[in-house]
Symmetry: C2
Subunit: 273 residues, 2 copies
Amino acid sequence: MVEREIHRPTLDERAGECARERTLSATVAYDGAPFAGFAKQPGQATVQGELEHALELLFRRPVDVVCAGRTDAGVHARGQVVSFDVDAAELRDRTLFALRRSLNALTNDGIVVRSVDERPRGFSARFDAVEREYRYFLATGEVPPVFTDRTAWFVGPSLDVAAMEEGAAHLIGEHDFKSFCMAASAVGKPTCRSVSEISLASETIMGEPHQVITVRGNAFLHSMVRTIVGTLAMVGRGQRTPGWVAEVLAARDRQAAGENAPARGLVFWEVTY
Amino acid sequence: MVEREIHRPTLDERAGECARERTLSATVAYDGAPFAGFAKQPGQATVQGELEHALELLFRRPVDVVCAGRTDAGVHARGQVVSFDVDAAELRDRTLFALRRSLNALTNDGIVVRSVDERPRGFSARFDAVEREYRYFLATGEVPPVFTDRTAWFVGPSLDVAAMEEGAAHLIGEHDFKSFCMAASAVGKPTCRSVSEISLASETIMGEPHQVITVRGNAFLHSMVRTIVGTLAMVGRGQRTPGWVAEVLAARDRQAAGENAPARGLVFWEVTY
């Protein structure tokens, strides 16, 4: 019976101790162009800074948010998710709908809170994410696009999509993606990740042809999606063969891969919990 | 035989007298946001000003362009067409492709010359146009769109599209569109126009729902498309019945119609010659 007396807190109880009573999440879209990335940095406009500032104005205390995935400067989001904890008393009679409206009123125009949802207590936007989806937009017309210039990388009309698909197939599954990780971030950290989908689809956006590359996986290394896209673009342009992608993966060396595709074409699309 | 001696120039000969040897056209896309409209205005950034400046740099003389349709400040284009005349000698060994490239290098980033084409001598982008097409983008999600904020009017999710289609049907055909013309522009000018199509289509753009209103006709009065859209939006929101659109048309009075829809949702899409 001693074990019972030395009380070991359950997961729920621990959440209660270190967190507040209710855990909420916000699904957030943003135009990455005006921000120095998601993560808060002193003296810079960041998405996290904007969101935490709005939450502080609402709750009259500092509120920390946890995000599903940090995005670099210039990278966009359609379905970034952030979680944060509040006391029931702090919510007063605010509905989640009213909270969304207030957050949208208090944040920069480039940020849109698409929904605010109640989550199980202790929910983490980061650690509870099962799968993350990114989409990368390539503009493939004869001339640069006017209406997607902020959200697509102009690569021109002569991409070999079949070769890109063949190259992408080498990356599906669980692998050491060290070659696709910004070198400084990879030092001393695990670089194995599981990629479940890399697919290409033609999409006409406001009259202009695009190829949209969808990349899904459990988690991603720093700049991994942009390096995958930059590498596949070399295959699509005929500068490398599809088989070269397997060599890049096997090299476990960032120098082996193609250059990072520009930030502006990348959208953090969706998170599955 | 006197008639033959008093030489009456044919249309071709007249073109030869007042114009240069070759007539070219450029199909131009632009983001309207940074411009004070298409038409040249002293001291303001305009699309015409940018294009004529680029042509002057290329040909080392002032070059006047004629456009298929003037667009107001903030209105975009995907298929604006401009025509201009040049001497064969001025073209030197430049191909039309090289001319397009030079124009793109010499104009503002918000302007993209999609093609440069040779036209019959004396061709006018304005007077030879048979039909003009505009598209108006309504963002119909729960929250404002992040990626089409510059190119769509956010109206929210509860538009009655069937009612808008019923209202639009009253405008098809040849009518006096005086109610749909900016009052000052209509004074003493003919206001009959022929509208061949007004259709609505759902379109997902970068993940967000939109309704796209396509309006086709031979020619349009000043702010006519935006007034049509503003009027149909009142029907879509349930503020007016579809039958009210027929009353607006019959009134021949701008005060009878709805407000102009915002410039940013309108794109001058295509011209048929």
